[in-house]
Amino acid sequence: MSAAFPAYPVSAYAAVNALGTTTRDVIAGLHAGRSGLGACPLELPFETPTGTVPEPLPALPQSLSTWDSRTARLAVAGLDEIMPAVRRAIARHGADRVAMIVGTTTAGLGRTEDAYHELRRTGSLPQDYELHRQHSFGAFMEALRRVTGIDGPCFAVSTACSASAKAVGHAQRLLATGAIDAALVGGVDALSQTTLRGFHSLQILSPVFCRPFSRERRGINIGEGAAYLLLEREGDAAVHLRGVGESSDAHHMSAPDPTGEGARTAMAGALAQAGVAPGEVDYINAHSPGTRLNDLSEGLAVSSLFGRPVPVASTKGCTGHLLGAGGATEAIFSIVAIEQGWIPRSVGSDPVDTDLGLHVPTARMDTPCRNVLSNSFAFGGNNVSLLFGRDR
């Protein structure tokens, strides 16, 4: 098969989440099969572990203080390691030829929760609260724009849990049309009361550590974090974005299509775009957050598309479900699998639900990977599958 789209080098990446505050620590935690899940720092009327970014989380620079929210702090903290590469891209291509596309579900929701609580308690919003600067989807993007100096197209993508995988697709298309030469893509989300209580209301939040693909699964854990990738038109990176597949289930707002058709369409789309056959995929980073419905749907999609038992792991037992930051974070995990030649163990999956018919590694597999698919599925039946590989 031949590729329908060019492959774009991933020049740099960076991640911050419960596994650590540097990319090195995050990858080391994943390599060790460590879970970053722990006690939830928010006061809730129910028990659930969360994947919380270790403190202290640096405050925003004084010049950005009016944009302050935990989301903005995470977003800016996550930039640190990738900024040298971003500066090089701006110098090479020009600030207006670099895009910034970031996925999120919450934007500055935590700040608004606190402000509303204060309003109900005292009758007034906090003096320093402003919806436009701390809550809106454009607010943390404005802070990022000021920090990075990027002056090309800038927008937030908010397709729930697929948001930052979707951001990668947006960037790929802008590169393909020639509208830009590079894109900083990523995702950020912070823990919030509304998110945790909302998933609890749907009865899919686990009171214990999540168990993706396990027959002992009890639901999901929520995590927080930020992750970024720098995509460029040209470069000598070891790993390339080779394909993006997207689909809609058109089934239900919060439950996946039980047939797995949408998930399968997304994966098949990514492969077709890259001209890669299913047999050339060495590892699938699964979406699986730990619900039975998702495992059944994704399991059916994988087993119907892949004729052999390709390893399928979920990393949400390490980080929690990072929502809008999940797609970009797991894209990085997929890239690392190719760069370093190992497939992470699917933390929490043992004992695996064998009815799924999947090959779920419960121990790390040290093996070369040529191509890796990374799945992100979301509310609204929004499906994205990213394909990364060594080849162009």
Binding site: G138, F155, T159, L174, R197, G198, A250
Partner: protein, 259 residues
Amino acid sequence: MIPRARVLGVGLWMPGFPSPASWVTGRPVAGADAPNAAAQAKMRRRSSLLVNMVTDVAAQASEQAGIPLSRLRVVVGSAFGELTTLVEMLEEREGDGLLSPLRFQNSVHNSAAGQLSIAHKNKSPATSLAAGNDTVAMVLLEAMTLLALGGDEVIAIVADEPLPRSISPGHETTPVAAALVLGQDGGAGAGLVSAPPLAILEDLRQVPAAAASADRPMEVDSPCAAILPLISTLGLGRSGRVAVSPSGDLRWSIEVRTA
């Protein structure tokens, strides 16, 4: 280089202005104080103002284009998303602390895109984005980018609810929603319709950004109102360069050419 697109259908809803034609005349229509969400009845669920606005304008634009919503790729933009639903959830938390599961699942920014997809059994990719004052521009950018790479027509939708007074006192904003059905202009891919377009859109770009980096104004009214000059230009059958970022922040603009 963002190529050209054909405008095949247009929809608009604002209080008093239930269609592009009503906006162009400048005379409010008495009683037009809620979007026509008849199509929403299919969904058999309570919907937010944002979803109802999107439903209304999407139906207008798809009908004019003659392309069913089951076949259009969907790009939705909203600077603030489901704000009314958010405040309802904040109030639930202040009450017994328990959230409604239905309200929570419909609180996501892509609720409108997802509900459109479900209502019309549309399995095409759909996206939902936000860019403050540049929300309209970024929606057009994504829609025209999709078309440039081939495939079926795209519906580009922008919508924002009024800002809730409780969490945004002092900001009186107007709800605005608009939709454009866009198709490829020439070249490969015939698309779904061959009817003559209403206009051609081209050359979406940022103007020189000399004044843009330091104190770029944040959205002070509905950011999606930035589409109104384009709706007027299309409705009046005029040509010219039209700003698609709010006044005072003319970073993005687009050329409108009569077909």
